[in-house]
C-alpha cells in the first residue's frame, strides 16, 4: 500500500508542477472555415493545429474554427479522417479557409511484415490484423499476451493460473501440430524471441508456472503489433512461424510533437481479487461416517487422520479440535475459510520514456518500465524491469545504423506448484480439507520447536507454512538486441545486414523447509540455471522500383542463419542437514545433478517479390530453403514457396459509391516446412544415477528415427476487406484451410514393444476455418462517438490420419482420463469411463451407486467450437468508455477439482442425501439393470466416494464462457487545460480486467484454465483461482 500512495503522490506532484509552469507567449488569432473539396459541404470536427506544436482546435458544426496561435507559428495543419491532410502557410493571414479532398489512401493501414518490411495493407494477399496497442498501455496485464485476448479474430488465448506472471497460451487458427509447438513466433523488431516455458506440464500438474518467456515484452514499449495469422503470412520467417507470427515493432525515437525531446510517463495501479472459488458446503465438518475427534491428527483420534468432510454436522456441539489442546470446543462452520486465505493483490506499473534526436542525423528513445506485482496467493510476487534503447544514426548519406537493445530483469517469488501437488495450497483449500477448519487459526503455523502446527498431520502442510516457510524464486536476466547496417545504393536498392540475439540466463531455486510434510520432513533444495541463446543473422538485398507508370516491383533476396543454444545446469539436495540453510553444500544426501546441453543451427536462403499494378492489383511470390541441423543429412534441406494475390476491386472497377467505399479480395497459397528438436535421430543410454557407488545406465525408452523428414504445412486462404458508408463500417472475412502432414511425433506406443515412444513422421491434421471482423461507427457526432468491433472465428480441426500401427496419439493421462488424438476427431479429445446408462438414458445403479462403463469413451475435445469478442468504445467529448466481452463456445474440460471436491464432501453439491444427518441414507436416482427404479439407499459418503473418482463422465464439463474481459474509462484533460501546461497530453483512466464471468457451464472453477502453453490442455487440476483486476492509470506526455 505504501508504494501505491507514493506512486499517486508522485504523479500528482508532477501534474501540479506542470500546471503552474505554463509559459505565456505573444499570441494572435486565426479563424476560418473548412469544406469538402468535392461537395463544398462544411466539415465539422476537423483538427486544426499549428504545425510542429500541440496548439490546436477543431472545427464546429458549421466547419468553422478559431485559433490563437503563437507569433512564431508559420503554418497550420488541417487533418480529418477520410481526407488528405493539408498544410497551409499563415504568412500573416488572419482568415484561412480550406478545402480538404477525400482520400482513400489516408485510410490505409501500414503493416509491418517479415523482415520489418512496411507494406500498405491493401497490397497484402493474406490476412493480418493490427492490434490496437493503446489499451495495452493503460490496462496492462503482467503477461502482455493476455492483452491480446478478444482483440483478434481466430486467435485463441487462454491464461492459465491466477499466480503472478503465469503463462498464457496463444493459438492462431487452431492446433495443427500434434506434438510440436503450436505457439506463434514472437518477433520483436525483427528478432525472433524465445517463448519457451522450460518445463512441460503433464496432466497432473508440475512445479510452479514460471510463465512463457514472451511475457518479458514490455507493453509500454510497443508501437504496433501485427498478427500474421496463417503460415501464408509467415512464409518468410521460416519454420518457426508455421503457426503464425506476432510481429512487434517497438517505439522509435525522433522528434515528437515538434519537440526535440519528448517525455512520456505512464503509471498504472491495479488491485487483484480472486474471481472464482468453489461453492462449498457449510453443514458438515471433517471426519467420516459423521464421527470426528481430534487426538493427534493422524489417526490417533476418531477419524482425525481423515482429510475429508463427512464428519459431524456443524451444530456448535463441543468436539476436541486441532487447536484446542484436548479441550472440547464448539464445532462450527467457517464459511469464508477458503476465501480468507487469499490476499488482495496489487500491481504497480510505471513507465518513463524519453525520445528525441533529429531525423537528419540520429534519433533515440530510452524507456524504463518497472512492474511490481503482489499476488493473491500470500507472499507471491513478481517484479520486472525493462530498459530499452532504440537508436538510429545516419552515418553517411547512404549508410544508416540502427541499434535496439533491451535488458529485462525479472524476479518471481513463491509461486506455488500448479496441479495436483501438496505444494499447491489449492489441493487443500479446494479439495482435501475439513470444512470446519478456521483458516485464521492456521496463520500461527509453527510450534516453538520448529515443527508445524496443523489441522492434519497425515497428508498436509499448514497452508501458511507452505506460503511462508518454503520458498521459490525465479530470476531472469535477459538481453534482446539487434544491430543493423543499411546501405542505400540509390533510391531503390539497398543492402541490409543485421544480427539480433535473444539471450537469457534464468535461475530457479526452490527450498522446502525441514519439517514440511513433503520430502519426509527432511527439507529439500533445488537450484538450477537455464541458459537460452538464440542468434539470428540476416543479409538482405532489397529493391523497390516503379518499372513503368503502372508497374511497381519490390523484391528481396536474403540469407539467414539461426543458432540456438540451451543449457541447463542444476542440482538437488534431497535433504537438508541444517534447517533453513538453502545451499547445495548443506545437503544431507548425495546431490542429484541435472545437466543438459543442446544446440541447433538452421541456415536459409530466401527471396520474395511483389509486383503491383496501378496500386490495385498485387502479386506476391516468396520462396525459402532451410537447412536444419536436427534432421538427417539426406532430408535436412527443404524448400517452401508461397504465392498470393490482392485486388482492390473498387479501384480496379472504378467503383465510387457512398455505400461501398473500399473493397478488396485476396487469395494466397503457401507451404511451410518444419524441423524438430535436436538429438532425435540416435538412441542413447540415459544415466539413472548412482546406486551406492554403482552407476546405472538404461537405454532411452523412445525409438529414434534415422529417416525423419521435415514436417509440411500447406495452407490457402481467401478473404475480403470491405468498407462501407465512407468507412463507417468495415468487414473483414477470411476462409482458410491448412493441412499439416508428415508431423514429427514422439508417439506413445504399447509398452509391449519394449519402448514407450517412437519418433515418426505421421499423419495429417486439417484446420479449416472462418474469421470475421466487423466494425462500425453507428454514431459519430461532434461530441459523441460509438465504435464497436465484433470478432468471430470458427475453426474445425480434424486428425485425418496417423500412421500404420498407431491407432491414436496419446498426449496425456490423468486419473484414468486420457487425452487422445484419433483419426476422424479433433486433436485433444478426452477419453475415459463414465456412468452407465441404458438405452432410455437412465443411469444404471448397482448397490445404490452408479455402474461404470468398462470401455473408454470419448467425452469431447478441448478445442472450442468458436470464439468471439465484442468490443465497444463510447467517446463523449474527452471521456471515453471501452468494453470488451470475450466469448468461448464449446470445448471440454476434465475437472479434477470437481472430482475430488465430490469425493471429499466439501462441495455444496455433496449435501444431497445428507440434508438432515450424516447417517442418513438416500436413494440416488437411477435404475437397476432391468430398468426398475433403484431402491437401494446408501449414505452420501458412500455414494460420492464411489461415483466420481477416476471417471471422465461426471467430471468432464463444457468449457464455454462469456467474460467481461476489459472495461476502461478514460478522461483526457481538455486541450485548453493541457495547452497551458508543459504536457502535450494528459489522460486518466479507470481500468478493469476479467471483472465478470457473465456465463459459464462448469461449476466451482473458471472454465479458462490452461496448463502452461503446451498442447496438453483440457485438464483442470487444482486451479489457482483466476483474478479480477481493477485500478487506475495515468498517462502524461511532455
Amino acid at each position: 500500500m505504501k508504494k501505491v500512495l507514493l506512486n499517486t503522490l508522485l504523479v500528482s506532484c508532477m501534474l501540479i508542477v506542470g500546471m503552474v509552469s505554463q509559459v505565456n507567449a505573444q499570441q494572435r488569432n486565426v479563424k476560418g472555415k473548412v469544406t469538402d473539396a468535392s461537395t463544398g459541404k462544411s466539415l465539422p470536427g476537423v483538427n486544426v493545429f499549428v504545425k510542429g506544436t500541440t496548439v490546436g482546435t477543431a472545427t464546429n458544426a458549421n466547419g468553422a474554427y478559431s485559433l490563437s496561435v503563437p507569433q512564431s507559428a508559420d503554418s497550420l495543419v488541417f487533418s480529418y479522417i477520410g481526407y488528405d491532410a493539408k498544410s497551409v502557410a499563415i504568412s500573416g493571414q488572419t482568415t484561412i479557409n480550406v478545402q480538404l479532398s477525400p482520400s482513400v489512401e489516408q485510410l490505409e493501414n501500414v503493416v509491418v511484415t517479415a523482415f520489418g518490411i512496411k507494406r500498405k495493407e491493401r497490397s497484402l494477399g493474406y490476412s493480418s490484423q493490427n492490434v490496437n496497442t493503446k489499451s495495452m498501455e493503460s490496462n496492462r496485464s503482467a503477461n502482455f499476451v493476455n492483452n491480446l485476448q478478444g482483440k483478434i479474430a481466430g486467435v485463441h488465448i487462454t491464461s492459465s493460473q491466477g499466480t503472478p506472471g503465469s503463462s498464457t497460451r496463444i493459438v492462431l487458427r487452431g492446433v495443427s501440430s500434434l506434438a510440436g509447438n503450436n505457439q506463434p513466433l514472437f518477433v520483436v523488431d525483427g528478432v525472433p524471441i524465445d517463448n519457451s516455458t522450460f518445463r512441460s506440464y503433464n496432466a497432473y500438474g508440475g512445479g510452479p508456472d514460471y510463465g512463457n518467456a514472451a511475457m518479458d515484452i514490455d507493453p509500454d514499449n510497443i508501437a504496433s503489433i501485427n498478427v500474421l495469422k496463417g503460415p501464408n503470412a509467415a512464409a518468410l520467417y521460416g519454420s518457426r512461424a508455421a503457426n503464425g507470427a506476432i510481429v512487434i515493432t517497438t517505439k522509435s525515437g525522433g522528434p515528437k510533437n515538434g519537440k526535440a525531446v519528448g517525455i512520456s510517463i505512464n503509471s498504472t495501479t491495479t488491485f487483484q481479487q480472486v474471481a472464482v472459488l468453489p461453492n462449498l458446503q457449510n453443514l458438515y465438518g471433517q471426519g467420516s461416517d459423521g464421527q470426528f475427534q481430534f487426538v493427534d491428527g493422524k489417526g490417533g483420534g476418531t477419524n482425525d487422520g481423515i482429510d475429508e468432510s463427512w464428519g459431524p454436522r456443524l451444530n456448535g456441539q463441543k468436539i476436541t479440535q486441532w487447536w484446542s489442546n484436548g479441550k472440547a470446543v464448539p464445532w462450527v462452520a467457517h464459511p469464508n475459510n477458503v476465501k480468507d486465505y487469499f490476499n488482495t493483490g496489487h500491481t504497480i506499473s510505471n513507465n518513463f520514456a524519453i525520445s528525441g534526436g533529429s531525423k537528419d542525423n540520429a534519433t533515440y528513445r530510452l524507456s524504463f518500465t518497472n512492474l511490481s506485482q503482489a499476488g493473491t496467493i500470500p507472499n507471491s510476487s513478481l517484479n520486472r524491469s525493462n530498459v530499452a534503447l532504440n537508436t538510429t544514426a545516419h552515418l553517411t548519406d547512404k549508410l544508416t545504423a540502427t541499434g535496439n537493445v533491451s535488458y529485462i530483469r525479472l524476479i518471481g517469488r513463491n509461486r506455488p506448484n500448479v496441479g495436483y501437488s501438496s505444494l499447491n495450497p489449492m489441493q487443500q483449500l479446494t479439495q482435501w480439507i475439513g470444512r470446519q477448519v478456521d483458516i485464521s487459526k492456521l496463520r500461527d503455523f509453527q510450534n516453538p520447536d520448529g515443527t508445524e502446527r496443523n489441522w492434519n498431520y497425515n497428508y498436509h502442510n499448514n497452508v501458511f507454512w507452505e506460503t511462508y516457510k518454503d520458498f521459490d524464486k525465479q530470476t531472469r536476466d535477459r538481453i534482446i538486441g539487434r544491430i543493423q547496417l543499411t546501405y542505400d545504393f540509390n533510391n531503390w536498392l539497398n543492402l541490409r545486414g543485421y544480427t539480433g540475439t535473444d539471450t537469457y540466463r534464468e535461475n530457479r531455486s526452490r527450498g522446502i523447509a525441514v519439517n514440511d510434510i513433503a520430502y519426509s520432513g527432511l527439507g529439500h533444495y533445488f537450484t538450477g540455471d537455464y541458459y537460452v541463446s538464440q542468434t539470428t543473422s540476416d543479409l538482405i538485398l532489397s529493391a523497390d522500383k516503379d518499372l513503368t507508370k503502372d508497374f511497381h516491383v519490390s523484391a528481396q533476396l536474403g540469407g539467414e542463419s539461426i543458432y540456438t543454444i540451451h543449457n541447463q545446469t542444476g542440482a538437488t539436495a534431497p535433504t537438508l542437514s541444517v534447517p533453513g540453510v538453502y545451499n547445495l553444500t548443506n545437503s544431507g544426501q548425495p546431490l542429484v545433478p541435472d545437466n543438459y546441453y543442446s544446440r541447433k543451427k538452421v541456415n536459409s536462403i530466401y527471396g520474395s517479390a511483389t509486383i503491383g499494378y496501378k496500386d490495385y492489383l498485387y502479386l506476391d511470390l516468396t520462396g525459402r530453403n532451410d537447412w536444419s541441423s536436427t534432421l538427417p543429412q539426406a532430408n535436412n534441406s527443404y524448400f517452401y514457396p508461397s504465392v498470393s494475390v490482392s485486388d482492390v476491386f473498387t479501384d480496379m472497377l472504378g467503383i465510387k459509391s457512398d455505400f461501398l467505399t473500399f473493397g478488396k479480395i485476396r487469395a494466397s497459397w503457401t507451404r511451410v516446412g518444419n524441423d524438430t528438436n535436436p538429438y532425435q535421430l540416435q538412441a542413447t543410454y540415459a544415466s539413472q544415477g548412482l546406486f551406492g557407488s554403482l552407476p546405472f545406465y538404461r537405454l532411452s525408452t523412445t525409438i529414434p528415427n534415422l529417416n525423419l523428414k521435415p514436417e509440411k504445412t500447406t495452407s490457402w486462404e481467401l478473404g475480403t476487406n470491405l468498407r462501407f458508408f465512407k468507412n463507417r463500417m468495415g468487414l473483414d472475412l477470411t476462409y482458410y484451410s491448412r493441412k499439416t502432414e508428415d508431423q514429427i511425433l514422439g508417439v506413445q506406443i504399447p509398452g509391449s514393444s519394449g519402448f514407450t515412444h517412437q519418433f515418426i513422421n505421421a499423419g495429417e491434421v486439417d484446420n479449416k476455418g472462418i474469421e470475421v471482423t466487423f466494425n462500425a461507427t453507428p454514431v459519430q457526432s461532434r461530441d459523441f462517438t460509438w465504435d464497436f468491433t465484433v470478432n468471430w472465428a470458427k475453426n474445425k480441426n480434424e486428425v485425418i490420419s496417423l500412421t500404420k500401427g498407431v491407432d491414436s496419439y496419446q498426449m496425456a493421462s490423468s486419473w484414468g482420463v486420457y487425452l487422445l488424438s484419433k483419426p476422424g476427431e479433433p486433436i485433444g479429445t478426452l477419453w475415459g469411463r463414465g456412468w452407465k446408462y441404458n438405452s432410455k438414458g437412465q443411469r444404471i445403479m448397482s448397490g445404490g451407486i452408479p455402474e461404470r462403463t468398462s470401455d473408454l469413451k470419448n467425452f469431447g475435445s478441448y478445442q472450442p467450437n468458436w470464439t468471439g469478442s465484442f468490443s465497444n468504445t463510447f467517446s463523449y467529448k474527452n471521456l471515453s468508455l471501452s468494453t470488451l466481452i470475450d466469448v468461448q463456445q464449446g470445448g471440454h474440460l476434465y475437472s479434477v477439482t470437481n472430482m475430488f471436491g465430490h469425493y471429499t464432501g466439501i462441495l455444496k453439491s455433496t449435501l444431497v442425501g445428507r440434508e438432515k444427518s450424516a447417517s442418513d441414507t438416500h436413494v440416488y436416482p437411477g435404475v437397476n439393470e432391468d430398468g426398475s427404479p433403484n431402491t437401494t439407499a446408501v449414505t452420501a459418503e458412500h455414494f460420492f466416494h464411489s461415483s466420481y473418482y477416476g471417471l471422465a463422465g461426471p467430471n468432464v464439463y463444457d468449457a464455454s464462457y462469456v467474460k467481461l474481459r476489459q472495461l476502461e474509462l478514460t478522461y483526457s484533460l481538455p486541450k485548453k487545460l493541457v495547452n497551458n501546461s508543459p504536457f502535450s497530453r494528459v489522460e486518466l483512466s479507470l481500468v478493469g480486467r476479467n471483472l465478470w464471468i457473465i456465463h459459464k457451464n462448469v461449476p466451482n472453477i473458471d472454465p479458462e484454465s490452461a496448463f502452461g502453453n503446451g498442447n496438453i490442455q483440457g485438464f483442470e487440476s487444482n486451479q489457482i483461482p483466476s483474478v479480477r483486476s481493477f485500478g487506475f492509470n495515468v498517462r502524461l506526455s511532455l
Binding site: 467420516s288 461416517d289 489417526g299 490417533g300 477419524n303 487422520g305 481423515i306 540509390n490 536498392l493 543492402l495 519426509s520 520432513g521 538485398l541 529493391a543 533476396l557 536474403g558 540469407g559 534431497p574 535433504t575 543451427k601 541456415n603 536459409s604 536462403i605 530453403n625 537447412w627 535436436p678 538429438y679 535421430l681 538412441a683 542413447t684 543410454y685 544415466s687 546406486f691 551406492g692 554403482l694 546405472f696 545406465y697 538404461r698 537405454l699 506406443i749 504399447p750 509398452g751 509391449s752 514393444s753 519394449g754 517412437q758 500401427g805 491407432d807 491414436s808 496419446q810 493421462s813 486419473w815 484414468g816 486420457y818 487422445l820 468398462s854 473408454l856 464411489s946 473418482y949 477416476g950
Partner: protein, 521 residues
Amino acid sequence: MKTYKILKRGILAVLVIVGMSACDSGFQQINKNPNSPTSAPATMTLPDAEHALMNQVYDAGMNMYVGGIWVQQYAKIQYTEEDRYDLSGRANMINNDWDNLYRVNEDLKKIEEQAKTLGNDNVVAIAEILTVYNYQNMTDLWGPIPYSQALQGDASTPNVQPKYDSQKDVYTALIARIKAAAAMINPSKPSIGNQDLIYSGDMTKWKKLANSLELRLYMRLSNVDPGTAEAGVKAVLQNGNLITSNDDNAGFHYKDYPYQNPVGAWYNSREDFKISITMADTLKSLNDPRLPVYAIPVRNDSMKQAGDKYEGVQNGAANNSKPLGQVSDIGAYFIAPSCPGWLMTASEVKFFMAEAAIRGWYNYNGKTASQLYNDAIKTSMQQFTADRLNAVLSSLNPSVPIFGNLQLDASEFPTGVTQSQITNYLAQPSVQLSGSQAQQLKQLAEQEWIALYGQGFEAWTEYRRNGFTTLKPGPLAVLNQVPTRLTYPDNEQTLNSTNYQAAKGMLNGGDALTGTFYWEK
C-alpha cells in the same frame, strides 16, 4: 547499366554468404548428443535392469495394491479403493506396471545381444533367467500377454502392436527357455562381478535359481495339466541342484537409505499399509513366532498392557476403520531399507517339494511329505534368525531422520526366531501335516501363504492356484470375490486396440478382475 552492376554485386554477396553456411558439413557434429552415451556396458545396465525389475515386483503396485492386500497379507487403512477392488483411480499404475515390466525385458534383451557379441554366455543366461521370471509374473498377472511378437519395437521391421499369446503358449515357451538358460551356464567361465546385485556373478547359484524357477513353472500347471506338471516337477527334483538353503535365496540386495526397498520407500512418506487381520489372526491362532517379525507392536499403551500387542486391519473397510495407534504396521524387517527383494527362496522350493510328495509325484531325497513340509516351515523361520534379522534391521536406525516419522522403538524390534520356537511350533497338532490329501494340500497352502509374507504377488498367485481357504472380500468391496487377475492397462485399449479386443476374447469373463486363468482351478 550501373544499377544492374550494383544489383549483380549485391546478389552475389548474399549468395556467397548464404552458400557458405547452407552447405554446412558441421551439421552432424552439431546434432551429436553430448549429454548421453550411445552404448553402456552390462556392468552398468544389468544391475539397473535387476533393480528396475525388483522395484516393480516389490513396489506398491504389484506387491501391495494388487498382490498383498488381495491375498490379505496387508490391508489398507485409508484410501481403501484397491482393498475394495475399485481400481478406477489407478489406471496410471497399471499402465506403468505394464510399460516398466516390458521395459525390463527390452533392457535384458539388449544386454543379451551385447553379451552374445562378446561371447559371454553366462551373462546371456542371467538375462534369460530374469526374462523368464518376469514373463511368468506378467502372464500370472494378466493372463494372455504379448510374447512372441513383444519387444520388436526397434527391429528392422518394427512391430509396435504385438498380438497376445495365450497363457498356455507363454508357459510352454518359458519352460523351454528356462531349460536352455540353465544349460548355457558354465560356472568356470567368466560372468559378471559384484555389479550383479542378486548373486554377485556366482553362476552356481544362478543355475540353482534357473532350476527352481523351472520347478515353479511346472508346479503352476498342477491343476490344469497334471500330467505335464508331474513329469516336469519330477524331472527337476530328480536333477536336483535347487535353492535349498537360505544362503542361496535369490534376492535383489537393496542397500541403506536412499538405495532402499520400495516398501520402505513407501513408508518414508505414508504408512497406510498395515498387516491384515486375516494374517495377524492366523499367526496368533498358530502361536507363530514370526508374528513379531511380520508386524510392529501397536502404539496404544493400554492395548500393550493387556497383552494385545499385534492387531491387524480389516480388508476392504471404510477409511480409518480403526485408530492408527491401535493397529500394527508391517514388520520393521520388511520396511527396513536393505530388506532384500526376493525372486525365490529355499522355503518356497521346499513347499513345492512337499507338495510333490503329498501329490505322490516324487519324494525328494526319499523324504516323506511331512518331513519336507516341516523342513519348508523351518527354512522359512530360519530366514528370521537373530543374525539374519539384525543384518537387515541395522539399516533401519530410528535415529536416522528419514525414519523419524515411523516413531520406531528399536527396543521393540524382533529378536529373531529361535530353534526351540521352531521345534515347539512344528510340534503343535494345528501345524502338523495330517488328514486327507486335499486337507494336507490346504494346510500346506496356508503355510506357504504365511511363508510368502512380504512377497505379495507370489503369495496371491499361489493362492489363486491352490486356494487354501476362501478369502472373504471386505465389507465395502465392490466384488463378491477376491480378484483373480489385473485388468489390462488402458493404454492397450487406446494404442493396441485390435489385439486387445482379441485378447479379451481369450479370457474367460473378458477383461475383468475376476477372469479365470488357464492354470487356475
